[in-house]
């Protein structure tokens, strides 16, 4: 009797462990960048290509960095949430357009000149924002995805919350749902802006 109790108990513990494991999201990889300074970059601004933006320019402000691209299907899903957010909340939302042309997969990059890629990327990004609404205070263009690598981007869309000191305080991978915004991002923004 006692022995069966132990065997059953052990089995139940194993089932519980596996159930928890299966419930976890394998895409939810903890970012080592949380708590670290936002990696530096200097990228051209979509609306004014002759200007650049770097994270230092945002020093002293709490801001969001949202990684997007016109070819990214999940970005479409979160876009209305971002548009709504930008109308209601006075927190700068900066867009990081990630590999607009070469990430698409529909182009033969071996045959495309850098100038051509650049022109096409700006044109496509602008068109997409015209169609779907532009929630971004600014969008910067990461044509080759180098800055994306510095930020550990592996699945667009991704969103970073960066505090006044320039430290990354949160990273969200995947589309932002209204729940994530209300339960995770808004409380953090309120706390950081205190």
């Amino acid at each position: 009797m006692n022995r069966y109790f132990w065997i059953l108990g052990g089995f139940a513990a194993l089932v519980a462990l596996l159930a928890v494991g299966l419930g976890l999201n394998p895409r939810d990889v903890p970012s080592p960048l949380v708590g670290k300074p936002a990696p530096a970059f200097k990228l051209n601004v979509l609306a004014k290509p002759e200007q650049t933006l770097s994270p230092q320019d945002m020093q002293g402000k709490v801001w969001l960095l949202n990684v997007w691209a016109s070819w990214c299907v999940s970005c479409r899903q979160e876009h209305p949430v971002l548009v709504e957010f930008s109308k209601k909340v006075d927190v700068p939302l900066i867009g990081l357009n990630y590999k607009e042309v070469r990430g698409d997969g529909g182009f033969d990059m071996g045959k495309m000149a850098a100038d051509e890629e650049r022109k096409l990327a700006f044109q496509r990004a602008n068109q997409w924002l015209n169609e779907h609404g532009d929630p971004y205070r600014l969008t910067v263009m990461d044509l080759d995805g180098r800055v994306g690598i510095d930020y550990g981007v592996y699945g667009v869309p991704e969103t970073y919350v960066i505090d006044k000191a320039g430290l990354i305080r949160m990273k969200h991978t995947g589309p932002i749902s209204p729940e994530v915004l209300a339960k995770k991002i808004m409380p953090l923004l309120a706390e950081l802006n205190k």
Binding site: L33, G105, G152
Partner: protein
């Protein structure tokens, strides 16, 4: 059937596309020593898009980008450790195919050994108990027990 053929054809197309792609990458690599290092390093690094593949196996965009980064770093004369650290700083320990031994991975590394030890312990205990039980059963009867047994036997089976 038609559908099936179409699928086979599509698979064939993608496989050739992959072959062409790795061919261009191979062409980019002129230096065999550097290429060997790239190969070795790539096998240690996880592709975060297709999580159970290394960046050597994967043809995802990100894996290609990361291979390009590794190649650039090799060209710049970075050591293997510097290159691996570069990845870990950005993507975390998860990017390593062989997770490092530290507090949070103790269960991962020690778990199987602990389970085996537990199993061995239970097995040894069981065998010992079983042996002592058998021993106990096989002990010869004492003189007192023997005479009682004789008496009982006679009672049942009087000749």
């Amino acid at each position: 059937m038609k559908r099936c053929l179409a699928l086979v054809f599509a698979l064939f197309l993608t496989s050739t596309a992959i072959a062409v792609d790795s061919a261009t990458e191979a062409a980019m690599a002129a230096d065999p020593v550097a290429e060997k290092r790239l190969q070795k390093l790539s096998e240690e690094l996880r592709c975060l898009v297709c999580q159970n593949q290394t960046i050597a196996d994967s043809n995802a965009e990100l894996a290609q980008d990361l291979r390009r980064e590794v190649r650039t770093m090799i060209k710049d004369g970075k050591t293997d450790k510097e290159i691996v650290d570069f990845m870990v700083v950005r993507y975390g320990d998860f990017v390593l195919y062989r997770p490092p031994v530290k507090g949070i991975t103790l269960l991962l590394w020690g778990g199987p050994v602990a389970l085996m030890l537990l199993g061995l312990f239970i097995l040894v205990r069981y065998l010992r108990r079983r042996a002592s039980r058998i021993n106990a059963e096989e002990q010869p009867l004492s003189a007192d027990e023997a005479s009682r047994a004789d008496a009982l036997l006679k009672e049942i089976n009087p000749k």
